[in-house]
C-alpha cells in the first residue's frame, strides 16, 4: 500500500506543468474567460506537444496511458484553466476514450489515429431540455430510413458542439426507457445540424451549446460500436461513468490546489506588510482547513483511480469521489473567496475565476444528488 506514481506518470506531470507555466500565464487564462471563446490555439499546442496521445492505444500511435495519466493531465491543466480540461475532453474523453471503450474496429481505425494527431474533435450529445438528472428520458428521434437513420430533436449543454467534427448523439430508437437508446457518430457538417453556444457563469470557452437536429441523416454504420449496438447506448454510457467521474475529480483537485496557493500567498503578503497577528488566526485556520480538504480529496481521487486501474468494481467509489471532490472543491473555492476578500472579487483574481468554473462541477457529470442516489443504492439502500 503506497501512494506512488510511475516514472512515466511523473514525467507526464512535469511536462504538463511545464506546458501550463509556459503557455497559460494568468493573463492568457483571464483572456479565455473574458472572451468566452473556445481555446483553439491552446488546443492546437496541446496536440503538437503530444497530449492527445495520452490515452490512445499504442497500435494507433498513442501512449496507452490509463485513467491516472488522464487525471494527472487534467489536474495540472485545471490549475491554470479548468475549461481547457473540458475542451481536451473533446479529444481525449468524448473522442478517443469513447471509441476505445465502445467503438468497433472500423471506427477506431478511422478516428483514433486522427484524434491522436489533433485533427478531430468530438462532442457528447446526451442531455436534452427535459432530461437532466433524468438522463434516460431521451426524446430525440432516430428513425430508420433505408441504410440510414434520420435524426430530429434538440440537445442542450453539449460542450464543444459548435467546434466538434463528430457529435456522439444519443437518440430514442425504441420505447424501452433505458433499452431503447442508440448513440450515433454524427458528422457535424451534416445538413440540419445547428449548434449555438450558451453564455454561462463560468467555464467560459467550453463552447457549451444548444444543438438542433433537423432531419439529420446518419448511416447505420455510424451507430457507436456498429449496427449491432442499436439500443445499447445506455450500457455503453455506463462504461464511461467511472472514468468521467475521476477525470472531473482531477479537475477539482487542480482548482483547489491553485485556490489554496493563492490564499497562502495572499496571507503571507499581508503578514509581511502588517506583521504577524493573532487576528489572522481565523484566516490561517481557514487555509489550513482548505489545504486539508484538498489533501483528502486528492488521496480519495487517486486511490479510487488505482482501484479502477486494478480492475476492481468501483461504481460506489467513483460516485463518492466525484461527489466529494466537487462539493469539497466548491466549498474550498468559496472559502478562498472569503479569505481573499475584495481582492478575490476582482476579475483579475484567479480565485473568482476558479470559483465560477468549479460551480459547474457539482452539476455536470451527474449532480451531487444523483451521486448520492448511486452511493445509497450501492450501499444496499
Amino acid at each position: 500500500m503506497s501512494y506512488r506514481f510511475t516514472p512515466s506518470q511523473q514525467e507526464l506531470r512535469e511536462k504538463t506543468a511545464a506546458f501550463v507555466a509556459r503557455e497559460i500565464p494568468r493573463e492568457v487564462a483571464q483572456e479565455v474567460d473574458r472572451r468566452d471563446e473556445y481555446p483553439h490555439e491552446l488546443m492546437k499546442k496541446l496536440g503538437e506537444q503530444g497530449f492527445w496521445k495520452i490515452n490512445i492505444p499504442k497500435k494507433y500511435g498513442g501512449d496507452e496511458g490509463n485513467i491516472i495519466d488522464m487525471m494527472i493531465f487534467s489536474e495540472e491543466i485545471a490549475k491554470a484553466l479548468p475549461v481547457l480540461t473540458f475542451a481536451a475532453g473533446n479529444v481525449q474523453l468524448y473522442g478517443s476514450n469513447i471509441l476505445i471503450v465502445n467503438g468497433n474496429d472500423a471506427q477506431r481505425d478511422e478516428y483514433l489515429p486522427r484524434l491522436a494527431k489533433g485533427e478531430l474533435k468530438f462532442c457528447f450529445g446526451l442531455t436534452e431540455p427535459d432530461s437532466g438528472s433524468d438522463a434516460g428520458n431521451i426524446r430525440m428521434s432516430a428513425v430508420p430510413d433505408g441504410n440510414d437513420y434520420v435524426l430530429n430533436g434538440a440537445k442542450i449543454f453539449t460542450s464543444g458542439a459548435s467546434v466538434a467534427d463528430i457529435s456522439i448523439t444519443h437518440t430514442r430508437t425504441a420505447s424501452d426507457r433505458y433499452g431503447g437508446i442508440t448513440s450515433f457518430l454524427v458528422d457535424t457538417r451534416s445538413p440540419g445540424y445547428r449548434a449555438t453556444p450558451l453564455k454561462k457563469l463560468g467555464s467560459k470557452g467550453s463552447d457549451t451549446c444548444e444543438v438542433y437536429y433537423e432531419n439529420v441523416r446518419v448511416s447505420r454504420d455510424n451507430i457507436l460500436g456498429g449496427p449491432e449496438c442499436v439500443n445499447t447506448a445506455w450500457p455503453q454510457m455506463m462504461r464511461l461513468l467511472n472514468g468521467e467521474r475521476l477525470g472531473l475529480s482531477a479537475t477539482t483537485i487542480g482548482i483547489m490546489d491553485t485556490v489554496v496557493n493563492e490564499c497562502v500567498v495572499h496571507i503571507r503578503k499581508r503578514k509581511q506588510r502588517v506583521g504577524s497577528s493573532i487576528r489572522l488566526q481565523e484566516l490561517e485556520h481557514k487555509i489550513a482547513e482548505m489545504a486539508t480538504l484538498l489533501e483528502a480529496a486528492r488521496q480519495l481521487a487517486y486511490n479510487t483511480a488505482s482501484m479502477m486501474v486494478n480492475g476492481v468494481n468501483c461504481i460506489k467509489e467513483t460516485a463518492m469521489c466525484k461527489y466529494f471532490c466537487a462539493e469539497t472543491g466548491k466549498k474550498v473555492s468559496l472559502m478562498g473567496l472569503e479569505v481573499m476578500g475584495a481582492d478575490g472579487y476582482t476579475m483579475a483574481s484567479s480565485v473568482q475565476h476558479l470559483f465560477r468554473d468549479i460551480s459547474l462541477l457539482t452539476i455536470g457529470g451527474g449532480t451531487s444528488q444523483i451521486q448520492k442516489n448511486v452511493i445509497a443504492k450501492q450501499l444496499g439502500l
Binding site: K199, E282, L334, A342
Partner: protein
C-alpha cells in the same frame, strides 16, 4: 413584542414591492446586467419614490429617520436586483445617514437636501489597496494653513464614479498613534481626484472603483463634523460601520429571498423522473433550510434596525445580522444554482447573478472575519 410592521412601514413595503415588480422585471434587469453600467434611468425612477431621504431628519428635507423602512427598501430592491439596492444604499446610508449623524451643521445644509432628492451620490473611501484596516491607512492629509492636501490611494470604493461626495479616510500630519485618523468630505470632481473602475465578478453597475488622490485640496471645514473632529475619525468610523453593515445586512436578506424564490419557482415547475423536483427531499429540504435561515436573518436585521432606531446598543446585533445575512445569501444562491442545475449555470437564468452578487458580501464594507472579531471582542466583555 409585535412582529407586524406598522401601517406606515407596511405601506412602504407594499409600495416598493409593487414598484420592483413593475420596474425591475427580469427583462429590464437582464438588459442592464448585459450593459454592465450604472442603471441611471432606473435609479432616477427609484428617486421619484422619495425613499432616499429615509435616514434624514425632516428639517433637512428628509422623510424623517425610519431605519426599519430604509432596510425594507434595501431588502426589496436586493431581492430583485442587488445592484440597485447598492445604488440606493449610496445616498441613503453612506450619504443621508452618515451626514445626518456626523456632519457639521454646514455639511448638513450643503448636502442633505440634495441627498434626500437622490441627486447626490456619496461613496465611502476608506480601504486602501494594501489593507482595509484603519490602522494601516497610508493616505495623508497635510495641513497647509487652513487647507489640507490629501494624497494617497483608495481601493474598492463602491460607486465612486457616480459620486459627487467622497468621504475619505486620511491621516493628518499631527497624527500621533496608528488609529488617529480623520474623515474628510471631498468633492469627487475636485482637481487631483482620479477614479478608475475595477472589473468585478458581480455587482455590475454598482461600480467598484479605485481612487487616486493627487494633492487634493480641502479645507478644515470639510472635515466630517467640522474642524473639531480632526483626528477623531476612528470613533466616527464605529458609528458609520453600524450604518453601513446594517444596510448590507438588509441587502443580504433581500438577495437570499430573491434567490430562494427564484429557485423555488423553478423547483415547482421542473419535472424529472415524472415528478416536480421540489417534491424530492434532496431539493425540498434544501429549500426549507434556506427559507428558515432567511427568515431568521430577516428578523435579526429588523431587530438590529429597531434597536438602532430606539437608540439602544446595536453594534453586535448589526454585525450578527450582517454575518448571518451573508451566510444565507450565499447559501441561497449556491443552493439555487444547484437546484437549477445546468440551466442555472447559463446567463439566461438569473440565479448566476445572485451567485455573483451575493459573494460580494464576503468583503462588502468589512470582511466577515473582521465583524466576527468585533462580536467576539464584545462577548468577552459581556456581562451575563
Amino acid at each position: 413584542m409585535d412582529f407586524d410592521l406598522n401601517l406606515e412601514n407596511t405601506m412602504i413595503r407594499d409600495a416598493v414591492k409593487d414598484w420592483v415588480s413593475k420596474e425591475c422585471t427580469r427583462e429590464v434587469v437582464g438588459q442592464l446586467e448585459e450593459q454592465g453600467q450604472f442603471p441611471q434611468e432606473l435609479f432616477n425612477k427609484l428617486g421619484t419614490l422619495g425613499f432616499s431621504g429615509m435616514m434624514i431628519p425632516e428639517r433637512f428635507a428628509g422623510a424623517g429617520v425610519n431605519t426599519l423602512a430604509a432596510c425594507i427598501v434595501v431588502e426589496e430592491l436586493a431581492s430583485a436586483y442587488p445592484v440597485l439596492a447598492n445604488c440606493y444604499i449610496g445616498p441613503t446610508f453612506f450619504g443621508g445617514a452618515v451626514i445626518s449623524e456626523l456632519g457639521s451643521e454646514s455639511q448638513k445644509e450643503r448636502y442633505l437636501e440634495k441627498i434626500a432628492a437622490q441627486s447626490l451620490m456619496t461613496s465611502l473611501a476608506f480601504a486602501e489597496p494594501e489593507d482595509a484596516d484603519v490602522e494601516f491607512t497610508e493616505t495623508t492629509a497635510k495641513q497647509r494653513g487652513d487647507q489640507f492636501v490629501i494624497r494617497g490611494e483608495k481601493a474598492y470604493v463602491s460607486l465612486a464614479d457616480q459620486a459627487e461626495l467622497l468621504i475619505v479616510l486620511a491621516r493628518t500630519d499631527g497624527a500621533k498613534v496608528d488609529d488617529e485618523v480623520t474623515l474628510f468630505c471631498v468633492d469627487a470632481k475636485a482637481e487631483g481626484v482620479e477614479v478608475s473602475r475595477v472589473d468585478t465578478m458581480g455587482q455590475w453597475g454598482a461600480n467598484t472603483c479605485d481612487i487616486s488622490f493627487n494633492d487634493v485640496e480641502v479645507s478644515a471645514a470639510d472635515i466630517l463634523g467640522g474642524e473639531a473632529q480632526s483626528g477623531k475619525g476612528r470613533q466616527q468610523l464605529a458609528s458609520i460601520s453600524d450604518t453601513v453593515q446594517l444596510a448590507y445586512a438588509a441587502s443580504a436578506v433581500g438577495m437570499a429571498q430573491g434567490a430562494f424564490e427564484y429557485a423555488l419557482d423553478y423547483a415547482r415547475q421542473r419535472v424529472q423522473f415524472g415528478q416536480v423536483i421540489a417534491r424530492y427531499p434532496a431539493i425540498g429540504h434544501m429549500l426549507s433550510d434556506v427559507a428558515a435561515k432567511t427568515e431568521a436573518a430577516r428578523l435579526m436585521v429588523y431587530r438590529a434596525a429597531w434597536l438602532r432606531e430606539q437608540g439602544k446598543s446595536c453594534s453586535d446585533a448589526i454585525n450578527m445580522a450582517r454575518c448571518l445575512g451573508a451566510e444565507v445569501a450565499v447559501k441561497s444562491a449556491m443552493d439555487g444554482l444547484q437546484i437549477l442545475g445546468g440551466y442555472g449555470y447559463t446567463m439566461e437564468y438569473d440565479i448566476q447573478r445572485y451567485v455573483r452578487d451575493s459573494t460580494s458580501l464576503f468583503s462588502a464594507g468589512k470582511s466577515l472575519d473582521y465583524l466576527k472579531e468585533k462580536i467576539s471582542e464584545s462577548l468577552v466583555q459581556l456581562d451575563y
